[in-house]
């Protein structure tokens, strides 16, 4: 008997690298997802929620002062910061939690790093009357106490994870352990375009709304498509959501920006596409930060949402094929751009999104004045304000 190849591969990446106990649940999801998501009833309900609850479509904003200041390409911002809960994460969780309900699963689990995906999942579960448990590393729980409270306020239970590095990657391991244990009644709501097939495809599909809207908005405003798309890349969901509807538009350049943290040479970064190697983590083959012995490194970034030692497999594929390119921005430049965008446009960006802004600032001045750069502003920065206040204060006292 021949072993059937598993679909859900992106070139050599993707796939389903999981313990046997999870295989059946992934097959169930793989079968249910296309049936449910293509049904008229599901589509109508999801579109309704995105419009009347999540705040879609989000605005496309011309960044006039930034454009003038940089003196090159015209800069537009896709305003995911205006979506409910303050980031693109809501697009994915409303889709997946609705899918869980259609599949008859009343218990939803999720992992979270800084708490953004956890808060979004808790939000969607409150809306859809689902039981919600979120796994979060003990280190992150301490650093993000406010988000823990928000999740609890929304009715979720937050389970501390004390294994490994006590951060996001360990929270994912723990969520997978829960799923293996409670597989028959539980839906695992993954937070980015990562994990075993079919998750990278499902999350991408639910995030594509960003690119679909932005593409139409650009045509409406400028009568043409942008020349360059720029988005930050942690797991890669906001970037994939923006990029994917433009993949066949060959004139549109796509640039993902990873966290260089304290610098690629320091080893303390989150740049799996720029500095990782092909490996297996969290159910997928992708580019990961791993040593010669196959042990996974801890990632580092000033922004918790980019602090992940892997990346979605489709990004690895886009990198190898040359269709997208991947660059980095370090902690300092992200911090600078956090302040810059606040002053220039009256928009406080998430620290994650500030990486995309930082990279845009390096290339826009060199581009023609009629070129168009579209930045995905994946989230708002209110969540980061206390941390940035401390970092800026430390910077000031350090320079004395």
């Amino acid at each position: 008997m021949k072993v059937a190849e598993i679909p859900g591969h992106f070139g050599e990446y993707g796939g389903r690298y999981v313990p046997e106990v999870l295989i059946a649940a992934l097959q169930e999801l793989e079968e249910a997802y296309p049936k449910i998501s293509q049904s008229g009833e599901f589509r109508a309900e999801l579109d309704g929620l995105l419009a009347t609850y999540a705040g879609r479509p989000t605005a496309l904003t011309f960044a006039r002062r930034m454009t003038d200041d940089l003196g090159g390409a015209k800069i537009y911002l896709k305003r995911e910061d205006l979506a409910h809960t303050g980031a693109h994460k809501i697009n994915n969780v409303v889709g997946q939690c609705l899918l869980a309900r259609y599949m008859g699963k009343r218990r939803v689990i999720a992992e979270t790093g800084a708490g953004q995906h956890g808060v979004a999942t808790a939000t969607a579960c409150a809306l859809l009357d689902l039981e919600c448990e979120v796994y979060m590393g003990e280190e992150d729980i301490e650093r993000q106490a406010l988000n823990v409270f928000r999740m609890e306020l929304l009715g979720a239970r937050v389970n501390p994870v004390s294994s490994g590095s006590k951060t996001l990657k360990d929270a994912i391991n723990e969520a997978m352990r829960d799923w293996a244990t409670n597989i028959r009644n539980t839906y695992y709501c993954i937070g980015s375009v990562m994990g075993p097939h079919p998750y990278p495809t499902i999350v991408r599909d639910f995030q594509r709304v960003i690119g679909i809207e932005a593409r139409q908005q650009m045509l409406d405003v400028e009568g043409r498509l942008p020349d360059v798309l720029i988005a930050c890349v942690g797991g890669g969901s906001n970037a994939m959501g923006l990029f994917h509807p433009f993949i066949e538009d060959e004139g549109v350049q796509m640039i993902g920006v990873e966290a260089a943290g304290e610098g690629l040479e320091s080893g303390r970064h989150g740049a799996a596409l720029s500095a990782g190697s092909s490996g297996v983590l969290h159910g997928m083959r992708s580019l990961v930060l791993s040593d010669d012995d196959g042990q996974i490194f801890e990632a580092h970034s000033v922004s918790a949402g980019l602090d992940y030692p892997g990346v979605g497999p489709e990004h690895a594929y886009l990198r190898d094929s040359g269709r997208a390119t991947y660059e980095t921005a370090d902690d300092e430049s992200a911090l600078d751009s956090f302040v810059y965008l606040s002053r220039m446009e009256g928009i406080i960006p998430a620290l994650e999104s500030a990486h995309a802004v930082a990279y845009a600032r390096t290339i826009a001045p060199g581009l023609a004045r009629d070129a168009i750069v579209l930045i995905n502003l994946s989230g708002r920065g209110d969540k980061d304000a206390p941390q940035v206040r401390d970092l800026l204060a430390a910077r000031k006292s350090g320079s004395h």
Binding site: V3, R16, P19, R177, D293, Q295
Partner: protein, 264 residues
């Protein structure tokens, strides 16, 4: 025939079941693991599984997670584990099986790993997170080197998939007794006997049961219907409880003898 098949044939001939103790290599360090394996071989182990530690053991419960962390802290690498097997091979007649996660084996490269494992005398390899669909090159490389790729099956495995697994598995089929992670449990999972006899109906491959088995009584229960029982977390508990290697070797050795006694 490989060492694993030989061993099961002998056991079947004697009407005995296999006791398969499992240790994490390098917990608390490799010299202690070496002493523990020798003691277990002496005390009646039929096959011995050696776990290769990984930074992200997503199928393991808290006991094995801590064990893996201790092993990594002591600097254990796959190369170090292969060296351990090389040291043990001339002293141990029982089959030696490695268990680990895909990223660690694949980091060495499929063919390189298979060649290195053959060289030191590894008899079988279990990869927790590498289903046959993804691991074709890896499994083919092992088989070409005369090493058995041992596959896992679980209570959630559908029947049609079970047929594929028993066809691809070599040595024995490792049946995970419950939906969940490794760790000692008070109660045995319901429906276990029925699940194992269903596998027997479609294949003659030896079936061994693991996950959650921690007492001589549970081992005896499994021995009524399966070809062997795998015990891991309960041994790690003993190692964890002993303050120094000496007492750990003694308590592990006594416990293994007791477990084997339940299978004779």
């Amino acid at each position: 025939m490989g060492r694993i098949a030989d061993r099961f044939a002998q056991l079947r001939g004697r009407g005995e079941r296999a006791l398969i103790p499992f240790l994490t290599a390098g917990d608390p360090n490799l010299p202690t693991t070496e002493a523990l394996v020798l003691a277990m071989a002496e005390a009646g182990a039929d096959l011995i599984e050696v776990g290769v530690p990984f930074s992200d053991p997503s199928a393991e419960g808290p006991t094995i997670q801590r064990s893996s962390e201790r092993a990594l802290r002591s600097g254990t690498t796959l190369r170090g584990v292969l060296k351990l097997i090389q040291n043990l091979r001339p002293k141990v007649e029982q089959p030696l099986v490695l268990m680990g996660y895909a990223n660690v084996f694949l980091a060495m490269g499929e063919r390189n790993f298979a060649a290195a494992a053959k060289e030191v005398g590894v008899d079988g390899v279990i990869t927790v997170d590498l289903p046959p669909e993804e691991g074709q090159l890896f499994f083919d490389s092992l088989i070409e080197s005369g090493i058995d790729p041992i596959l896992l099956a679980s209570p959630t495995t559908p029947e049609s998939r079970m047929e594929m697994l028993v066809e691809r598995a070599r040595g024995f089929l490792y049946y995970v007794s419950l939906t969940g992670v490794t760790g000692a449990r008070k109660e045995m999972a319901a429906g276990l006997e029925e699940a194992v006899s269903k596998i027997r109906e479609i294949s003659g491959i030896p079936v061994c049961v693991g996950f959650g088995i921690s007492t001589p009584e549970q081992v005896a229960e499994v021995g009524r219907f399966a070809d062997g029982a795998v015990v891991w977390s309960a041994l790690v508990d003993l190692i964890e409880a002993a303050e120094t290697p000496g007492p750990a070797v003694i308590s592990v050795s006594e416990f293994v003898a007791k477990l084997k006694g339940a299978l004779r």
